[in-house]
Subunit: 254 residues, 2 copies
DNA sequence: AGCCTGATGATTGTCGACAATCACAGTGGT
DNA sequence: ACCACTGTGATTGTCGACAATCATCAGGCT
C-alpha cells in the first residue's frame, strides 16, 4: 500500500504554490499542494518515481488531472519528467543549488533595493505582522509552518515591490530552495532566521537601500552556506530518520 | 477556411522557443514554433481566440496535443487561458510591458556583469559571429531573421554566463518582449541595433564590467523607449497593414 | 423600446480505452 | 560465471466520446 505516503489536502502550503498565472480548478491546486509538501517534507525522497495511476487513486481523480499537475510541478523544477519514462522527484545537484541561490541574489537584491528606495511603499505593516507570525510559529515549535513562512516572507517582499514577472520567477526559486534545503539539510537548525528578516525590514524603513541590499545579500549567503553540501551528488540519500518523529509512515514506493 | 492563417513548420524560430526543461516530442515544438511566430508576426492579432479543434485540424493532430502546446504558450505569457472559455492571444498592457523590461534590466545587468568580470569567459568569438549574422540579416532586408537574431543575442549572453535559472527566465522575458514589440511597434525602424550589441561585446572584452552594465542598461532602455505605447490599452489594435507586404494571407479567424 | 429569461449551439473539461514504449526477468549461448 | 537476447508486465502517450459550461439569440415581459 503506497497511498498513505501522501497527505491529502488539509495541510495547505498557501501562497507558495499558487504559482501559474492561469486560472486553475481548486481541486488541482490541492493536489499540487499535497505532492509539493510531501516532497519538501521528504516523505517523497528525491529520485522517487511518481506513477500517474497510483496518484490518481490516492486523490480520487483520473490520470488526466494528475498529468496536468505533474506538468506544473515539473515546470517549477520540483519533479523531473522523462519522456516515456515518467515523473521523478527532482534531485538537485550542488551546482543547481548554487545557481538557484545566485539567481535569488540577483532578483531579491533588486527587489529589496526597489522597496527601500520607496521607503517601504508604506507596506511595512504587513511585513511586521508576517515576521511576528514567523516568531510565533518558531516558538510553538511548528517546524512546517516556520519553513513555509520563511519562504513566504520573501514572496511578500516581491509582492510589495510589485513586478509580477519577478514575483513569479521568485516563486519558482523559493520552491526550488525548499527542495534544496530538504535535500541538503542545514547542520544547525537556523533555517531562515527571523532576526535577519527583522533587520531587512529595519533597513527598508530607514530608506537605506544600500544597507537593505547588503542585508539581503548576507541573509541569502547565510542560508546557502548552512546547506550541507556533503552528500555525493548521485547517491540516493537516505533521510528518513531525520524527520522520523514527524512522518506517520515510512518509506515511499520501493 | 481559417487554416491557412498559420504557417506550418518550415519557419522555425530556433532556440528562442526550446524553452521548457522537460523533454518534448519534436512534433509539439514544431506546433509551438508555428503558433509562436504567427503571434509575434501579428498574423494572429492580440485578443484572437484560439480554438483547440481548429488548431488540431490545421496541424493534423488531436486536441490533446494542442492542449499541451497551449499550456506551454500560456506559461510563457504569449497567450492567456481562461477557464471554460478558451485560449486568447495575449494583449500585454503598458504596465506589463514596463514590468517585462524592468525585469530584463535586473536579470541582464547581472548577466553582463558576470560575463565581463570573467573577461568574456573566452567565448566572445561566438558573440562576434552572432553579431555578424545579425548584420547580414539586416543587410539583406530579412526582417524576421533580424528580429529573431536580436532576441537570441541576449539569450546567447545568458548561456555564456551559465546560470540555467536566469537563462530560462530570460527566455520567457524575451518571448514576451517579442510580443510587446509587435503590439507596440517602434515608430522608427531601429529594433535592437546591432551597434549596441557590438558595444556590449567591446566592454566585455575589455573586462570593464561597470561599462558593460551601463551599456546594457542603455540598450534595454532604448528598446523600451522606442515602443509606441500610445494605443489605448483595451482597443483591439489593427496592425494588418503594417506587415502587409510580408503576410501571405490576411485576417485571422473572424 | 429596453431588459430579463430561457433555449440552443459551440467549445472546453474530463474520462476511459487502446497503442506505443520501456524496464526487467528469464533463457540460452559463449 | 558472464553477457546478449527475447518475452513479458507495467506504465506512459494518444485518441475519441461524453458531460459540463459558456456565449448567443430569440421571445416575452415590463
Amino acid at each position: 500500500m503506497t497511498a498513505t505516503v501522501l497527505t491529502p489536502p488539509h495541510t495547505a502550503a498557501a501562497d507558495l504554490t499558487a504559482n501559474t498565472p492561469e486560472i486553475r480548478s481548486s481541486d488541482e491546486t490541492d493536489i499540487y499542494e499535497a505532492i509539493f509538501t510531501a516532497i519538501v517534507e521528504q516523505r517523497l525522497v528525491p529520485g522517487t518515481r511518481l506513477i500517474e495511476e497510483q496518484l490518481g487513486e490516492v486523490f480520487g481523480v483520473s490520470r488526466a488531472r494528475i498529468r496536468k499537475v505533474l506538468a506544473n510541478l515539473a515546470h517549477t523544477g520540483i519533479i523531473r519528467l522523462e519522456r516515456n519514462r515518467g515523473a521523478f522527484v527532482a534531485r538537485p545537484s550542488q551546482e543547481e543549488a548554487r545557481q538557484v541561490f545566485e539567481a535569488r541574489q540577483v532578483v531579491e537584491q533588486a527587489i529589496i533595493r526597489s522597496i527601500a528606495s520607496d521607503h517601504g511603499s508604506g507596506a511595512t505593516r504587513a511585513l511586521h505582522r508576517h515576521v511576528k507570525a514567523e516568531a510565533e510559529a518558531r516558538q510553538r515549535g511548528d517546524r512546517r509552518a516556520t519553513i513555509r513562512l520563511s519562504g513566504e516572507f520573501h514572496l511578500l517582499l516581491a509582492g510589495i515591490q510589485g513586478n509580477a514577472m519577478l514575483t513569479e520567477f521568485l516563486r519558482t526559486l523559493v520552491s526550488r530552495s525548499s527542495l534544496i534545503i530538504a535535500v541538503y539539510p542545514p547542520s544547525i537548525e537556523t533555517a531562515c532566521s527571523h532576526d535577519e528578516h527583522a533587520a531587512l525590514i529595519a533597513a527598508v524603513e530607514a530608506g537605506n537601500s544600500d544597507q537593505a541590499v547588503a542585508e539581503m545579500s548576507r541573509h541569502l549567503e547565510a542560508v546557502f552556506e548552512q546547506l550541507n553540501l556533503g552528500g555525493a551528488p548521485g547517491t540516493p540519500l537516505d533521510l528518513h530518520q531525520i524527520f522520523a518523529g514527524l512522518v506517520p509512515r515510512g518509506r515511499p514506493t520501493r
